[in-house]
Amino acid sequence: MTTSVTPDADVIGKRSEHLYFALRNPKVVIGLTIVIGLLLLGVIGPFFLNNDPNEYIGPKSEGPSGDFWLGTTYFGQDVFSQFVHGLRSSYLVGGLGAVIAFAIGLSVGFTAGYRGGIVDELLNMLTNVVLVLPALAVLIVISSYLEVRGVVSQGIIIGLFSWPWVARAVRAQSFTLRNRDYVDLAKLTGKRAPQIIIKEIMPNMASYLLMSVILLFGGAILFAAMLDFIGLGPTNAVSLGTMMQQSMAWSALHLGLWWWFVPPGVAITAIVGSLYITNVGLDEVFNPKLREM
């Protein structure tokens, strides 16, 4: 970055200082632009494509054209319409999975790190156990028993199995933070533990927490796509993973219908990759040592 403008530290607070650097970090800007752009496409797009994504509307197996931007499937469904609806469910699963995993990871990590002792031992044990379990295999077994699967239920079970590393990191961080002077002071003033955690400890790792939500979000999207591809996707909705599954099931590979299986993969890679790059950029924003000035 070559900006020569330095913010006036007295006037501008810490929060807006971060915003200042974030908006000038190319990694954050590019990453967020892609993520938000695809999100808008997924949210707004379906209103303009007022048809059911699984409706048979066009000629069969046709390549991209002016009428069907991404071509049609083997059965004559509009790939672009499926793609837009799929984006929507991918974001939904990712968001839901990330929020649930974050909530569990945060509570387990803070409880273990702040309380210490036997509570910590037990919670740490639990964390390690879930960490070692091969999550995808467990998810496959669980969702194969669900007869009706929706985007929401998928988000929930993904969230239930992807929290351990957040818990571990939060625990390690609160270990170092709980013995600080200001925490002792807060204890002396008679604040309760949850209050101290929220008011005194959490703000000091806010940047870290934001970054872990972003990683959880990307991870949940990838997990959902893999489950969908195995054939355990939502039974009532289209997703990017089920598009790939359908294209493979109807041998799009051998028929050369590349417009059927390439776009969903590009979208997932773009979303998750942009999230990772945003994360690296945010790291530079929050950690002044890494800023290239």
Partner: protein, 331 residues
């Protein structure tokens, strides 16, 4: 060292116990009745024969005793290596079906995990000292980690298999050949193995390279590096120390990453119809063969735990601090 291993073994023991319990509990707690579904699949309309079939299946799968006894029986059968009967391949037992598929999955997983770990670490360490390389390795690394396993597999099958026609895109070996210890069969096997292997190798590569790069840079900023540089130690030596210290988190990372890679192998096999555990799992799901599904999960859990233990042993061998009972390997 004893404490370290005791802790680890306790965790693995509990994990195994919980995995078995999940395995036992899911089918019994979930809504829906597998036996009823199986009966409806066979379309038995006569209520009397349906009842007879039902009690036959209940008896066969041991569902006609109280829950706690089922649980004990489950453990008992497990230790005798009896995982039940597969519905999909009906007369054969789950363990024999799984054991048939296991070599294929292992042949994919072991080389791809180890090779990508070594190559990725090497690339990452090189990227940490070379700005030009860093600027290419980092973006490509993030791209690879963001690619869904099955999509890369599909792309490779499409380009290498369909467009170029260099490799077969499905199966473990040609149907024209019979498994025999001949040279032709071996070449055929390797040809079918290559694309799934490549896709698993490539996806994992980026993560290792990025991790190693960050760790080496972190080590190169630490106090001991500054001290050595102040003493005038040669750059090569300093970097070697940084590399060796950065290896340690990567070894424990290898164990932690394993569950993810196994999941990736399952979907990759599904793309290539490679006859390993992934395709077996797909068949089990499509045929609602829950015993087989659980057997596969159990095998995967055992495999992951064994590999984790192996990584722990390596960690102790590599990091002397764990051997001396000092801080170091986190449990």
């Amino acid at each position: 060292m004893g404490r370290y291993f005791r802790r680890k073994l306790l965790i693995y023991g509990i994990t195994f116990f919980i995995a078995v319990t999940i395995n036992f509990a899911i089918p019994r707690l979930m809504p829906g009745d597998p036996v009823a579904r199986m009966l409806s699949r066979n379309a038995v309309s006569n209520p009397e024969s349906s009842e007879a079939l039902r009690s036959y299946f209940d008896n066969l799968f041991g569902l006609d005793v109280p829950m706690w006894q089922q649980y004990l029986n489950y453990w008992g059968a497990l230790f005798q290596g009896d995982l039940g009967v597969s519905i999909f391949a009906f007369p054969s037992s789950v363990s024999s079906v799984v054991l048939d598929a296991l070599p294929y999955t292992l042949a994919l997983l072991l080389p791809s995990i180890l090779l990508s770990w070594f190559v990725g670490n090497g690339l990452g360490a090189m990227a940490a000292r070379n700005k030009l390389l860093d600027n290419t390795v980092l973006p490509i690394g993030y791209l690879f980690t963001a690619v869904p396993y099955m999509w890369l597999a599909i792309l490779l099958a499409w380009t290498g298999g369909i467009i170029l026609g260099w490799f077969p895109v499905a199966g473990g070996y040609s149907f024209a050949l019979l498994p025999a210890p001949t040279w032709t069969f071996f070449v055929d096997l390797v040809q079918h193995w290559f694309l799934p292997f490549l896709s698993l190798f490539v996806v994992a590569l980026g993560g290792w390279a990025i991790g190693m790069r960050n760790l080496v840079i972190y080590e190169l900023e630490s106090d001991y590096t500054n001290y050595m540089q102040a003493l005038g130690a040669p750059q090569r030596l300093v970097r070697r120390y940084a590399f060796r210290n950065a290896m340690l988190p990567q070894i424990s990372g290898l164990a932690l990453q394993l569950g993810v890679v196994v999941g990736g192998a399952l979907v990759t096999e599904a793309v290539f119809a490679y006859p390993g555990l992934g395709s077996l799992m797909l068949n089990a799901i499509q045929n609602q063969d829950f015993f087989l599904l659980q057997g596969i999960l159990l095998f995967i859990v055992i495999g992951v735990l064994l590999f984790n233990f192996l990584a722990d042993v390596v960690y102790v061998l590599v990091d002397p601090r764990t051997r001396l009972g000092l801080e170091g390997g986190q449990s």
